[in-house]
């Protein structure tokens, strides 16, 4: 019999509310708002309250998919990253770095966002950097 809570940050938007995942016997069963969190002070929106629901959702992607012909096929991370790197290199070579761009996400951490813009600016050489929060 185990019930514990894991303090984490809501992944749904850039507000960054603190929430507690309720874990029973290794299974995430619910969410509680973190009462002492400076951002949300014990409150959540409806997305935060249900932030655990996708964890066991059938449609959740747990492995990368690589398009082969008309179908998306499960692949290893190595294979997926290699495919991306090769395609990027090829596009940059034929059409120039400004033919590439990236969308980062309010659902990522600051550090992840920093890394994505860095790889596009410094490694690829374009300022085409944007984010989903503009939608």
């Amino acid at each position: 019999m185990e019930y514990r809570t894991v303090l984490t940050t809501c992944t749904y938007c850039g507000t960054g509310c603190g929430l507690l995942l309720e874990v029973m016997d290794g299974e995430v069963v619910g969410v509680l708002p973190a009462k002492t969190h400076p951002i949300n002070e014990g409150k959540l929106c409806i997305k935060g309250w249900n932030a655990h629901e996708f964890i066991y959702a059938d449609g959740r992607l747990t492995k990368p998919l690589v398009r082969k012909g008309d179908t998306l096929e499960e692949a290893s991370w190595d294979e997926a990253l290699e495919t991306i790197a090769n395609k990027f290199a090829e596009i940059k070579k034929t059409n120039g770095p400004d033919s590439l761009g990236c969308f980062s996400s309010a659902k990522c951490t600051n550090e992840e966002n920093y890394l994505l813009q860095k790889i596009f600016r410094a490694a690829i050489g374009t300022n085409n950097v944007d984010h989903c929060a503009r939608l």
């Binding site: 809570t5 303090l7 507690l20 309720e22 069963v29 509680l32 014990g42 409150k43 409806i46 309250w49």
Partner: protein, 271 residues
């Protein structure tokens, strides 16, 4: 605090309880946790902060999976009122649940405006005086009717339909929630229709609400929900003589209809 931890350890060792639902320190944050005899070392992180989590709501989550376990639970005055109501509604068995009583600090009692900031038996803390304060109700009761209606409508119009008030409430234990009944409240649509959304909940809280105020603390829109439920609580005791949260006796008089009392009539007709 050391004495308190030792007391819990003894309850584990004697087998009187098989788990203790309390609060532990997680860095700077106090968070709910189920301490167990298998991990007595975790009791080192046990803490009793001036922060309230819905302990009885969490207890229900655990009891649903482990109905036969003997559990201890940290209870403040409000948690004890909740447990009393849960017993009357057959959600928990009193012989399996041990109340480990905490008297709230004067600060907490004041910020909660709590009419009973301590449980019957106290294992930690010193009793402080109850706070009798119905200024919130009075302020609204003295408004002319039209103004009062406008006041509530303007408050309800801030609702973002997060369901936080319902989710955090240990008195919201129905299997089917009327607030998710498409015939009454359009599902998948925000904001909700007002005032029906809030009035349905207020009606259901009559005879159940134990005035802990957790709903209001959880409301991102700062709607004075507690004032509303305090008012229905007063109406219940005034008109029907029922004060929810008291120990023993009959369950709330509105329950005589059973769970169907809360459903829309058309559904009853179909049967």
């Amino acid at each position: 605090m050391e004495k308190f931890k030792k007391y819990i350890k003894e309850l584990f060792e004697s087998g009187e309880i098989e788990g203790f639902l309390g609060i532990r320190k997680n860095g700077l944050h106090p968070v709910p946790h189920l301490f167990t005899p298998e991990h007595p070392e975790e009791l080192e992180t046990l803490t009793i902060p001036d922060v309230r989590y819905p302990m009885t709501e969490i207890l229900l989550t655990i009891v649903r999976k482990y109905p036969d376990k003997k559990l201890g639970i940290m209870v403040r005055g409000c948690d004890e009122r909740a447990l009393n109501e849960l017993v009357k509604n057959q959600k928990i068995l009193p012989e399996l649940i041990k109340h480990i009583g905490i008297a709230c600090s004067a600060d907490l009692a004041a910020s909660c405006r709590c009419a009973q900031p301590y449980p019957e038996e106290i294992h930690y803390g010193e009793k402080v005086a109850p706070v009798e304060d119905r200024s919130d109700i009075e302020a609204i009761d003295t408004m002319p009717q039209e103004e009062r209606f406008d006041y509530w409508m303007s408050e309800f119009s801030k609702c973002i339909k997060c369901y936080g008030c319902r989710n955090i409430c240990s008195m919201c234990f129905c299997d089917q929630c009327t607030l998710e009944d498409n015939d009454l409240i359009a599902t998948g649509q925000a904001p909700p229709a007002i005032p029906i959304f809030h009035l349905i909940r207020a009606f259901h809280m009559a005879g159940r609400c134990i005035d802990c105020g957790l709903c209001e603390e959880a409301c991102p829109a700062h709607i004075p929900l507690r004032t509303l439920y305090r008012k229905v609580r007063e109406s219940m005791s005034g008109f029907l003589g029922y004060v929810s949260g008291t120990e023993g006796g009959e369950k709330d008089p509105l329950e005589f209809l059973g769970s169907e009392g809360y459903m829309v009539p058309s559904k009853i007709d179909e049967k």
